[in-house]
């Protein structure tokens, strides 16, 4: 357990970086396609290390995103909790899949998260898209999933944490 502190700080660091990626200003055409970085990181940790990252940590990460984006408190937290729960249910299967097959599951998981937040935005009368473009981040998240998988997996292996 010597690497425990290191492992936990790697997890925290990954969430911080994902949070930064979530608010870095993008050019106008790209803002509709911003991947859900924090959700990707949540899925990675839940699938590989459910003993460290569960629904609770995912909720905290969601609160962080809420604070950073100035959105309604709990909007992203609930979404991240949903993502973590789905990933927990599917984790044994996800571990057997190849990385591109995983990406298709990611598409569905993040699509559900976006759908949930769309419903909540409707419920609380917040600004929201009026067409199906609100699902675009699910597609880009799925595209970026292999990158996240390889990057985080590579870090864990390099630091010899597992």
């Amino acid at each position: 357990m010597a690497g425990s502190v290191l492992f936990n700080s790697l997890i925290v660091l990954s969430f911080i970086v994902a949070g930064l990626m979530a608010i870095v200003p993008l050019p106008d055409w790209a803002i509709y396609y911003r991947p859900e970085w924090v959700a990707l990181v949540v899925v990675y940790w839940v699938v590989n290390n459910p003993e460290r990252v569960g629904i609770g940590v995912a909720w905290m990460a969601g609160i962080m995103v809420d604070a950073l984006t100035g959105s309604l408190f709990g909007l992203h937290a609930l979404g991240m909790a949903l993502v973590a729960w789905l990933a927990l249910r599917l984790r044994l299967r996800l571990r057997l899949f190849g990385v591109f097959q995983q990406a298709s599951v990611i598409l569905v998981i993040i699509g559900l998260q976006l759908l949930l937040s769309q419903w909540l935005q409707f419920l609380f009368d917040l600004p929201r898209g009026t067409n199906m473009m609100f699902l675009a981040p699910a597609l880009t998240s799925a595209l970026f999933w292999p990158l996240a998988w390889v990057l985080l997996g590579g870090l864990v292996r390099t630091l010899d944490l597992n």
Binding site: L20, I23, V24, I63, G70, F73
Partner: protein, 277 residues
């Protein structure tokens, strides 16, 4: 979420988290800041000289206009005093800088680098060099969120500067950076090219600041309202420097002033203008 939306119980938590989030915003803004400072470093001497000359010229022109405006202000104040109404025609502003843009593509908000520590309050009007920009909606210790006039949930009370026709300008719902004028009946006199200024109604924005310019007007006989689009005057997406209006907007209705007092003020300011001339 309900606690946040309906009752504002989360305001304190928001403040605390906002404090923690400040370095994040700073870090996320770094690429843009480094980019612009690199641009400043690698600018050639001739370009700088050109810019300097251009700015000098602009300064001279604006000085001249300011002189004109000053005398007009004085005259206007005198006329208002004759009607025994008092109106603020000058406002103190606090400069601020935009440090981030809302990552949510459906809400048009920006983050500025002034917060409750600098006396920013919710509902404060935000201006840009070319016109009205938006209002503060959420204040954190060192930063605050500004809702832009182009947000779909934001409505700006405006009037046509040409004839004083009033209208409500809402941020367009289909996501581009224009404004829709709502509930304009076809007989109202609004034309393409009209400039819209803030009417001061709603008491959030100061009066008479440029808001937008009408770019298209469509009146169809079957519709109860005309479809009018306007382009905001403020460079909503390309500017980094904004101004916060320190005083709340003056009430739209005339307030009875102490006649002797304002009269004396008028005399002295008129006298100073006379001596300046």
């Amino acid at each position: 979420m309900t606690a946040d939306k309906r009752f504002g119980y989360m305001d304190h938590a928001r403040q605390a988290l906002g404090l923690v989030a400040t370095p994040f915003f700073w870090l996320a803004d770094t690429p843009a800041r480094v980019g612009s400072s690199l641009g400043e470093i690698f600018v050639s001497r001739t370009e700088l000289l050109d810019e300097n000359a251009r700015l000098r010229e602009e300064l001279m022109l604006s000085r001249q206009q300011l002189l004109l405006a000053e005398s007009l202000t004085v005259e206007n104040n005198r006329l208002l005093a004759l009607q025994s109404a008092s109106a603020l025609l000058e406002q103190e502003v606090l400069p601020a800088e935009i440090i981030n843009v809302s990552p949510d593509p459906y809400s048009r908000r920006v983050l500025i680098n002034k917060g409750s520590q600098d006396g920013v309050f919710v509902g404060q009007a935000v201006l840009e060099a070319n016109g009205l920009m938006g209002q503060v909606v959420q204040v954190m210790p060192f930063s605050s969120w500004v809702l832009l006039i182009t947000d779909a949930s934001h409505v700006t009370p405006v009037e046509v500067s040409r004839n004083g026709e009033r209208a409500l300008a809402r941020g367009s719902l289909d996501g581009d950076t224009e404004l829709d004028l709502e509930f304009v009946i076809p007989t109202q006199d609004i034309e393409v090219g009209d400039s819209l200024i803030s009417s001061g109604m709603g008491q959030v924005y100061p009066k008479n600041y440029p808001v937008a310019e009408v770019v298209s007007v469509r009146r169809s006989s079957g519709q109860p309202y005309a479809t009018i689009r306007a382009r905001p005057m403020a460079q909503v997406w390309s500017t980094r420097h904004v101004m916060l209006v320190l005083e709340a907007a003056e009430p739209d209705f005339p307030v009875l002033a102490d006649e002797t007092d304002s009269g004396a003020d008028e005399e002295s300011s008129l006298a100073s203008v006379d001596s300046a001339n």
